[in-house]
Symmetry: C2
Subunit: 284 residues, 2 copies
């Protein structure tokens, strides 16, 4: 059965779900998005994702005339219509489709475009059988990575560069310091401490990152929120990434160097277990 996709108030079979060629998301990447994981048919970290969506919209002076209850109802309808048990709900909002292409924002404003669709990922909670290898690439993205925009050309390209070199993903490096992965936050475990970069305009403030931070004390760990270098990461006891769709995923190789013996470590495993438990408990 065709997936049901939401576009501006209508539910359509995926093959018919479309937006105007004049949509500013298509012409100018003038849009933001969120991806919310689904476990047991329920939404993980939903409030966090919607709070970040509001921050992204506010940063770009974009309107969305739907409150969080309406957005929750839409997410739940997406899950229900598609009988989704494990996977994700993707939501995108753009500045709408004015009658003409213009760098200037539409005046008067036009209604925003709202798209939601689901992606099934059976086995999402079961977790990875192995860690991933990453390569380092220079961080060439724009400067406001705290806003979750659809300007994903470089992260996508970076992932392909990584695959071309036999790796799974890329970590981006700026001024000698790791910023983040192409679609995840980067962490290391060194000297008995968790180290991850503090939120700023240089990285996306991960919702899963924030959830894992709340589990650090519970896991009996201590934390240092600071940027780290690639060499530090290569010499670390463990490395991992966090994201809404991978939860906590071990990194076992960085460029040509194995990390922590080249196998997933206990800290990542422990944080992943705690995160999935908490995610299931608090999902809505």
């Amino acid at each position: 059965m065709a997936r049901q996709v939401h576009v501006n108030g209508r539910w359509l079979p995926e093959g018919e779900a479309s937006v105007s060629v004049f949509d500013r998301g298509f012409l100018m990447a003038d849009g933001v998005y969120e991806v919310t994981s689904v476990l047991d048919g329920r939404l993980v970290d939903f409030a966090g994702h919607m709070a970040r969506l509001r921050r992204s919209l506010a940063a770009l002076s974009m309107d969305l005339p739907l409150d969080d209850a309406a957005l929750l109802a839409l997410h739940r309808e997406a899950v229900a219509r598609n009988a989704l048990s494990e996977g994700m709900v993707y939501l995108q909002v753009t500045r709408g489709a004015p009658p003409e292409r213009d760098f200037a924002w539409p005046d008067p404003p036009v209604p925003p475009t709202l798209v939601l669709f689901t992606q099934a990922k059976p086995g999402l909670a079961r977790g990875p059988e192995r860690g991933i290898g990453v390569i380092s690439i220079p961080d060439l993205r724009w400067a406001r990575r705290d806003i979750k925009t659809v300007q994903l050309l470089y992260p996508s390209w970076g992932k392909m560069i990584a695959r071309g070199r036999g790796a799974d993903d890329a970590w981006m490096v700026e001024d000698g310091l790791v910023t983040e992965g192409t679609s995840n936050n980067a962490w290391i475990v060194a000297g008995g401490r968790l180290v991850t970069r503090p939120p700023s305009e240089a990285i996306l403030s991960g919702i899963t990152r924030a959830a894992v931070l709340r589990l650090v004390a519970e896991a009996g760990l201590s934390l240092e929120e600071r940027p780290f270098t690639l060499a530090e990461a290569q010499a670390a006891d463990e490395a991992f990434v966090t994201s809404a769709t991978t939860f906590v995923l071990p990194v076992v190789r960085i460029d040509d160097r194995p990390v922590g013996g080249g196998s997933p470590g206990p800290v990542a495993a422990r944080l992943r277990a705690l995160y999935v438990e908490e995610a299931r408990r608090s999902a809505v």
Copy 2:
């Protein structure tokens, strides 16, 4: 009568011209574009725009299975179907609409998405009645501005910041040097010489910029291809911008400083006249 828009081989009324929500142009800004001006119903600098399109596509390993003759035929059909005399043809190519959203490029590849539409601009060749005022903003864009991608969120935002401050447009500044305008290349006239930034990954290599460079000698001017500072521009005899849709447009104010007495100068006027003459002569 509704405008006729080309989408993947079909001509559609503008209200029906759409792309899939799974189009990578919409979800990931994974697309490139060109804007070609039309004078007297003919295409200006067409070969230059198509050559740059090929460079953009090649940089991103994107395919477009149409040769320049086919693209010319499409442009001409867009002009004819819309009875366009003065204005522009917008062309966008994306990496297509795979069945799923994924940072990785579609494997196997899917056909690219191709969209063309026209915009009428009566009076395009007549030229501006006054110069424009610009403000300076930091250049926050990604590092590969030589590729003409649809990642236009910041240039668009910059234009709105400019309007909010009572100006017409913004010049972007990086490391103390002007890179370019939000949708144009920046030039100054100082000490009897034209100064404009050389092509690099920091700016778009303007097709109109290149055409104007070819007219410098004819205009009896000399040229210095180098970056310049904002202070230099403010102290210059003239400043102007070049783009496919504004040709040569005087800049008479930069931030709070008038340039060259605050009125359009003779060099910009002369280059504009020469450019429009050459554009009409060589249009196809």
